[in-house]
């Protein structure tokens, strides 16, 4: 669709002998909204900081418009950053913050004024020029931080978990806002987050990272529907992941039963991971089911119920609007398109079993991840 702007070649990064990035190869197109998604410690922020020029990779190259920029300092790159928790200058007001880069570039006064006014309109902060930074709310500071970066008309904007400090409501609003701004300015956004929903709803391309390696690159729909391994399947949304054997193309066997599926291209009798999304599963009366199990827990989630069903000792998460009470015997049917097959990976067996599932568990771990960053 558009031309390539930045390319990362065999990027590795080590701190004190610990490998943070392990052979990152990635390219970014012009005008693209690309998100680096992963849990804390996966190397996403490190990758962003290398692109921004704040870190020098241990090995590998960063190409910008085809030229290696490893040795170009941050202040000479046509890249601006929106920092985690904004990093606004406390000694300057809103105008002073936004005009900062333009003043450093020694632009004429009228042009600075005009450009600051323009960008204030874009981020919806007109009239706030002379407000002190500490008198602004989190969302307003966020907008100033974005304006301060965008006013320099960079080719690439790096955003490091920019919404992490905002409350849920504001975060949703800002997601739409960011997407709108990106389209209005027509520049490349490279966005770092650990929030899968944020990544799926805003990005053109999502790069899922873990342990310093890229796990999968693709459009949000592809990442969600066709995860490459158990890590991606579990990190993006919820997944029941089962051991299976691919008998032949379009035939997979698990739980002692052969199912039709839509995947092909595996070796005959190859052991595989089978992914079944909790929202794809339909309940049927016990007698008509492919599988029959017992409901062990029900949690009301607003939009749906999270129902845990025990199938021969393996617990599945099923998300449905039909209520089934604890202890009830239920049957389920699986359509071929509900079954997604993945090759075995180092992550096999680590995810996708809901035996220890509890409703609070997800939220707790998410908060813990926030703290670490």
């Amino acid at each position: 669709m558009s031309k390539e702007l930045i390319r990362l070649q065999d990027l590795t990064m080590e701190f004190d002998g610990e490998r943070i990035l392990d052979g990152i190869n990635l390219y970014f197109n012009d005008h693209e909204f690309l998100t680096l998604l992963g849990p804390s410690g996966c190397g996403k922020t490190t990758t962003l900081r290398i692109i921004g020029g704040f870190l020098t990779p241990t090995s590998g190259r960063v190409l910008f418009d085809g030229k290696c920029i490893n040795d170009v300092p941050a202040y000479e790159r046509q890249i601006n950053t929106v920092f985690q928790r904004y990093a606004l200058f406390p000694h300057l007001d809103v105008f002073g913050n936004i005009a900062f880069g333009l003043k450093v570039a020694k632009l004429p006064k009228e042009e600075i004024n005009q450009r600051v006014q323009e960008i204030l309109t874009v981020v919806g902060m007109k009239g706030y020029e002379h407000r002190r930074i500490d008198s602004l709310s989190g969302g307003q500071q966020q907008r100033v931080a974005i304006a301060r970066a965008l006013v320099n008309r960079p080719k690439v904007l790096l955003l490091d978990e920019p919404l992490a400090a905002l409350d849920l409501r504001l975060r949703k609003d800002m997601q739409n806002e960011l997407k709108r701004i990106q389209q209005a300015m027509g520049i490349t956004f490279i966005y770092v987050t650990h929030d899968q929903e944020e990544a799926l709803s805003m990005s053109d391309t999502v790069v899922v990272m873990d342990k310093g390696r890229i796990q999968q690159i693709g459009r949000p729909e592809d990442i969600y529907n066709e995860p490459k391994n158990a890590f991606v399947a579990d990190f993006i949304g919820e997944s029941n992941i089962l051991d299976g054997v691919m008998l032949s193309d379009y035939k997979v066997k698990f739980f002692g039963r052969v199912f039709d599926c839509v995947d092909a291209g595996f070796a005959p009798n190859e052991p595989v991971d089978v992914v079944i999304r909790p929202e794809d599963i339909d309940f049927v009366p016990a007698g008509e089911g492919h599988l029959v199990g017992t409901v062990t827990s029900v949690t009301f989630k607003g939009l749906n119920y999270d129902i845990i069903v025990d199938f021969r000792g393996f617990k599945w998460l099923i998300q449905t609007t039909d209520y089934h009470g604890e202890g009830e015997t239920v049957g389920i049917r699986l359509n071929p398109e509900d079954i997604h097959i993945m090759h075995k990976s180092e992550y096999s067996g680590m995810f996708g079993d809901y035996s220890s599932y509890s409703a609070e568990y997800d939220e707790l771990t998410e908060d813990a991840a926030d703290e670490e960053e």
Binding site: F83, P90, F100, G101, A149
Partner: protein, 274 residues
């Protein structure tokens, strides 16, 4: 309940302050406005203050010079310390504090020993076949004494401010096109302002009222400083009333200076400079 407790706990010091600060202050004011012989109310002491204007001028000038030199010497040190690892920071901080653990009088006497006409430095110069230098009894020696004694008071507040400057602000400045010098001028220095102001105040105030340094390192040929003048009125000239008047002036000046510094400081924070 909590409030009552805090009054109870701060009571001893409030009482102390009352007896040993406020009442003496009143006594100083009373002395300043009465005649030394008769004890009658008079403005004579205040009128005589005019004679001390040159003394006051020199004191202020020396103190400004000392504070400026302390700032120039101290800032890089504070910056250096603030950018070391946590452990190194602690060690360097201790080293800066170390001279303060030794008596102020002793340190000043030691400098006198170094700078004297037959002192250690000159003996060393003579040993090398070089002529002696006149060091003691010069303005330079007095200012050296002040800088040496008050430098920690500059470094410590500077350090405590600089160490708190968020590294992401520096990265943000680089991101927005600042090279090293520009980062310093546009971000680090403005953000150090509170430290600079409190450092200057902490050096200027004791320097302007100092008396011992000028006596030991300045000697008889040097013009008096205001602190010496006050001491002289009380101890040898036998005019405590005039001394009291001088003290009042000095105090007023210190108040005004700190006032200016505070005002300057809050303006800075207020972000009036757009």
């Amino acid at each position: 309940m909590k409030k009552n407790k805090s009054i109870l706990l701060s009571g001893p010091y409030i009482l102390w302050m009352l007896i040993f600060t406020l009442i003496p202050l009143g006594v100083v004011g009373y002395y300043a406005l009465t005649d030394v012989e008769t004890g009658a109310f008079t403005f004579a002491n205040i009128k005589d203050l005019g004679l001390f204007l040159p003394t006051l001028g020199i004191s202020v000038w020396y103190s400004i010079l000392s504070a400026a030199i302390c700032l120039v010497l101290g800032y890089p040190v504070a910056y250096f310390i603030a950018h070391r690892s946590a452990v190194t920071q602690k060690i360097l901080y201790m080293l800066v504090m170390l001279p303060m653990c030794m008596s102020f009088l002793l340190r000043t006497l030691a400098w006198a020993g170094l700078l004297e006409t037959n002192g250690i430095i000159n003996q060393f110069l003579n040993l090398l076949g070089l002529p002696s230098l006149k060091m003691i009894g010069t303005p330079g020696a007095v200012i050296l004494g002040m800088v040496y004694n008050y430098l920690p008071y500059m470094i410590l507040p500077l350090y405590s401010i600089i160490v708190k400057i968020d590294n992401r602000l520096i990265e943000a400045a680089e991101d927005l096109g600042c090279n090293g010098m520009q980062v310093f001028g546009r971000v680090v220095l403005p953000l150090s302002m509170p430290g600079i102001l409190s450092g200057i105040t902490m050096v200027f105030v004791p320097a302007v009222s100092t008396f011992y340094i000028s006596q030991k390192l300045g000697g008889a040929d040097m013009p008096l400083l205001i602190g010496d003048a006050i001491e002289k009125q009380f101890k040898t000239a036998g005019n405590p009333n005039l001394g009291a008047a001088l003290s009042l002036v000095l105090m007023l000046m210190v108040f005004i200076c700190t006032g200016i510094m505070n005002r300057f400081g809050s303006d800075e924070e207020g972000g009036v400079v757009a």
